[in-house]
């Protein structure tokens, strides 16, 4: 995942959004004076005007109003052509009739008045343009913000065969519109919260006001509101502030880069959170199944979709257990091996100097290293190099009798299978957990494995994501469409999952997908 970090995020105003932090203690002292020269001086001082080149002041006289005015904007965050075309040009044009209403002159669409200096500065910081007019103790905030960014591209991590090919980008407004365009409904609600004492990062909470569970929504808002940090640059960081168990191996909040996936969670009554600078949306609550599923499961036909589910399950099983089963069987339960396989392994191990567990740990570690390196290699061929490296390394290790060929097979199979787990967080969790199984198997064979497995399972059943048990609706049971290990035929998926405490449990058959 590569991302450009725009240090100065841009802001934008959404019709439905409301400021959370309305209360300002010293609002009176920060009011505009009405004296344009004085206010101009204050702003210039604030922005260290002559040295700071990323701050522009444009004084002008408005012929229609016969008044002096000043325009402030930050060029790096502002759409300059818009300032030229829709603000300065109309203001300078001498119209037929005179008017005192700025609204009647400026042709920009989003536009409002602001009396508070501090708030006005916040708006300015997001890239909006401020217009001060002599004699008026307020300023006009004109929505002109824009920032450099990439356009909507294909998803990188969650690819599908039949799904839409667009992914979230680093701009929250675009992300919201990507979701919104899939749900054309008046229930689509976006709320804005600002966190970060210094950097004022905006967080957009998206939910369906008719469906989203009250409890979850309040919980999300409360947790976001409670974040005490100077700056929370993006969602990946925000999640670590608000998740249920911060040191847990398993993720409890889903990050998705697919607007369609976010939208389908939205339809089920989940709460979506979007931030600037994050090409992701966060989904809460997220159960184990949310991580296990992929978008394609539903886009493919019933049988094919479930086949991929089955494959993913098998992949998870293989990733988690193959190395440890190999150790458990070859070290403790030899009778399980058919004689030919037994002799093959024994023969191959004859020349190998290390115990099987060390052999396997070495190779697993090597594979993980190659994989990690593959991500960091700054070219798209990184993974390819990694695989080639793995092949050569494995081949050479076998030739040199450092490891036995069967171990290379086990490690390769494990590594390959781990790629089939599409969710990055779950992928990490399982890859790490397998080392636990490996050690347990080497100490107590299958007994150790079962012990670790059950301890893990016991632990997982106690995890909750925003009050929702991790394995819901499998256990504890909730009314739902039973979209867990396998899915049902689409027409039979009539219920929203009850664990999000949605207000309307039944889906109207035609409404979805």
């Amino acid at each position: 995942m590569k991302s450009h970090f725009f240090k100065n995020s841009k802001r934008f105003k959404f019709e439905t959004s409301k400021e959370i932090f309305d209360i300002e203690n010293d609002s009176k002292t920060d009011a505009f004076s009405g004296d344009i020269a004085k206010d101009e001086e204050v702003l210039k001082k604030l922005y260290l005007f002559p040295q700071n080149i990323d701050f522009k002041v444009r004084s002008l006289t408005i012929p229609i109003m016969r008044k002096k005015g000043v325009i402030f904007y930050i060029p790096s965050l502002t759409d300059i052509t818009m300032v030229d075309e829709h603000i300065i040009k109309p203001l300078l044009t001498d119209g037929d009739q005179s008017t005192n209403e700025v609204a009647n002159i400026i042709s920009a669409s989003a536009f409002n008045e602001e009396k508070n200096l501090k708030k006005a500065i916040k708006e300015l910081n997001t890239g909006n343009t401020l217009l001060l007019i002599d004699g008026e103790p307020l300023c006009y905030v004109i929505n002109t913000s824009t920032a450099a960014g990439r356009s909507v591209e294909k998803p990188q991590n969650e690819t599908t065969l039949f799904g839409p090919k667009e992914a979230f980008v680093e701009r929250a407004d675009i992300n919201i519109s990507l979701i919104h365009k899939k749900i054309r409904s008046e229930d689509f609600t976006v709320e804005k919260m600002v966190i970060g004492e210094r950097s004022h990062n905006e967080v957009f909470i998206i939910y369906n006001k008719e469906l989203a569970g009250e409890k979850v929504l309040n919980e999300v808002k409360a947790r976001i509101g409670a974040v005490q940090k100077d700056a929370v640059q993006n969602l990946s960081l925000l999640i670590q502030h608000i998740e249920d168990r911060k040191a847990s191996l398993f993720p409890t909040i889903l990050l998705t880069e697919r607007p369609d996936r976010a939208a389908s969670f939205f339809e089920d009554g989940h709460v979506i959170v979007v931030m600037n600078n994050s090409p992701f949306a966060m989904v809460a609550p997220a159960t184990f199944w949310a991580f296990y599923h992929s978008a394609d499961d539903h886009y493919l036909r019933f049988i094919y979709g479930n086949f991929t589910r089955f494959l993913r399950m098998a992949a998870m099983f293989i990733t988690l257990f193959t190395p440890s089963i190999y150790i458990a069987i070859t070290n403790y339960h030899i009778e399980m091996l058919p004689p030919d396989l037994l002799l093959a392994i024994a023969g191959a191990r004859e020349m190998v100097p290390f115990p099987a567990i060390l052999e396997l740990l070495m190779m697993e570690l090597a594979f993980e290293l190659i994989r990690e390196a593959g991500i960091r290699v700054p070219t798209p061929i990184g993974p390819t190099i990694g695989i080639v490296g793995a092949l050569i390394l494995g081949q050479a290790a076998v030739e040199a009798n450092v490891v036995s060929p069967i171990v290379v097979i086990v490690v390769a199979l494990t590594g390959l299978s781990s790629f089939a787990i599409s969710d990055v967080n779950l992928n990490y969790a399982i890859r790490i957990a397998r080392f636990g199984f490996l050690l347990a198997a080497s100490v107590f064979g299958i007994f150790g494995m079962v012990g670790i497995f059950l301890s893990g399972l016991f632990y997982l059943t106690t995890i909750k994501s925003f009050g929702v048990p991790y394995f819901a609706p499998l256990t504890p049971k909730y009314k739902s469409s039973d979209d867990t290990l396998f899915r049902r035929i689409l027409t039979n998926e009539r219920l929203r999952p009850a664990f999000v405490k949605t207000k309307d449990l039944t889906k109207k058959p035609i409404k979805n997908e």
Partner: protein, 370 residues
């Protein structure tokens, strides 16, 4: 209805019907895989499967009586009902006896399962280490609480069922049906006697009434409990029958662990042989869940008897106690044939008569009150 209290309560500590079903099945049906089978086969040979059914019929009245009482008192568990019937002191004594039985039984059974695991799979590992580890895992489960145990039980249940079905199916290949005969084995009277003797096989189903307030509703409790009992009876009878058909009646009594021998015997085709470890895995899953419930129940009873509100804190000391008691018997024979048989013999009267006595006393009280 307890459900009416709102969604919040459902999430906390109440388990649903499926989870409760899985717990009871695991607690009871494992008795077809341990030394209980050995002791029963010792007496009733090829008719042992009838003992399973017979015992169930013997104890059924107790179940019905208890269920009636539970319905009447709604939010009360076994000992709370006893308190309502007998008063504080007698309940204390009953509770203490129940606690002792549960504690000793759990100790001897955990030890027995550890020995079973050791003999068949880890012959060189010291008993203490394996036993400690085994109890630690169970303790971990118990610590996570009732709801968590239920969830885990239900999650592994389908896979265990699949494995069990496979086992039974594979066993049929080597089973000789006529080995079932002579149908009554050592005789009808012997079967009846043995059935009475082994009533405590189903004692778990009565003790689980301690958790009655933590099951969603009376209806789910009744449905799951009876469902689980019938299912367990079926599984156990089927397994007991399979052992007899596989080994024949004179040999089966001589085998220490019929279950382990049976899973060693089966094979899928001619190439995939020796698949006992596969079945062992599922067996271990079930056994660990089972003893998590046991340890939890022992603590629960202990907590009630000694008025410890947060009985979860007693889990660790009680597990240590179990470990110490469990380490005392020298070997399996002493453990199972002497010690646990004693508990089963005396425990069964409590299991059998407590619910009936409760029913009578409560009915009498009602009559006296008018």
């Amino acid at each position: 209805m307890k459900l009416g209290d709102g969604m919040v309560k459902v999430e906390k500590d109440l388990v649903g019907g499926r989870e409760f079903f899985a717990i009871v099945v695991f607690m009871i049906s494992t008795k077809a895989t341990d030394m209980t089978a050995t002791t029963i086969f010792d007496i009733t040979l090829n008719a042992s499967w009838m003992v399973i059914i017979g015992s169930f019929l013997f104890i059924l009245p107790a179940f019905l009586a208890l269920n009636f009482l539970l319905k009447k008192f709604q939010d009360k568990h076994l000992l709370e009902i006893s308190r309502a019937a007998f008063g504080k002191w007698i309940t204390f004594i009953i509770g203490f006896i129940l606690f002792s039985i549960l504690l000793l039984n759990t100790s001897f059974e955990t030890r027995s399962y550890t020995d079973q695991l050791m003999t068949m799979n880890f012959p060189k590992t010291p008993t203490f280490i394996l036993y400690l580890l085994f109890l630690l895992i169970c303790l971990g489960g118990a610590k996570k609480g009732w709801e968590s145990i239920g969830s885990v039980a239900w999650m592994v249940f389908p896979y265990v069922t699949i494995a069990l079905t496979l086992l039974v199916f594979l066993l049929t290949k080597d089973n000789v049906v006529n080995r079932m005969f002579p149908i009554f084995g050592p005789g009808k009277w012997e079967i009846a006697k043995a059935s009475f003797k082994y009533i405590s096989i189903y004692g778990d189903g009565l003790v689980i009434a301690m958790m009655y307030p933590f099951v969603k509703s009376h209806k789910t409790y009744t449905k799951s409990l009876y469902g689980a009992l019938i299912y367990s009876v079926m599984i156990m009878a089927l397994l007991y029958l399979s052992y007899a058909l596989l080994f024949d009646y004179q040999s089966v009594g001589k085998i220490t662990y019929p279950f382990n021998e049976a899973i060693r015997f089966v094979s899928i085709g001619k190439v995939i042989t020796n698949i006992e470890t596969f079945f062992l895995t599922f067996w271990l899953l079930v056994v660990i869940v089972k003893f998590s419930v046991y340890i939890y129940l022992v603590s629960k009873v202990f907590g009630y008897v000694f008025h410890i509100e947060e009985f979860e804190h007693t889990l660790i000391p009680i597990t240590i106690l179990i470990l110490l008691i469990g380490l005392m018997p020298e070997n399996q024979v002493e453990n199972i044939f002497v010690l646990r048989n004693q508990i089963m013999t005396y425990g069964k009267y409590l299991m059998l008569f407590l619910p009936l006595l409760l029913l009578i006393v409560i009915k009498l009280k009602e009559v006296v009150k008018g």
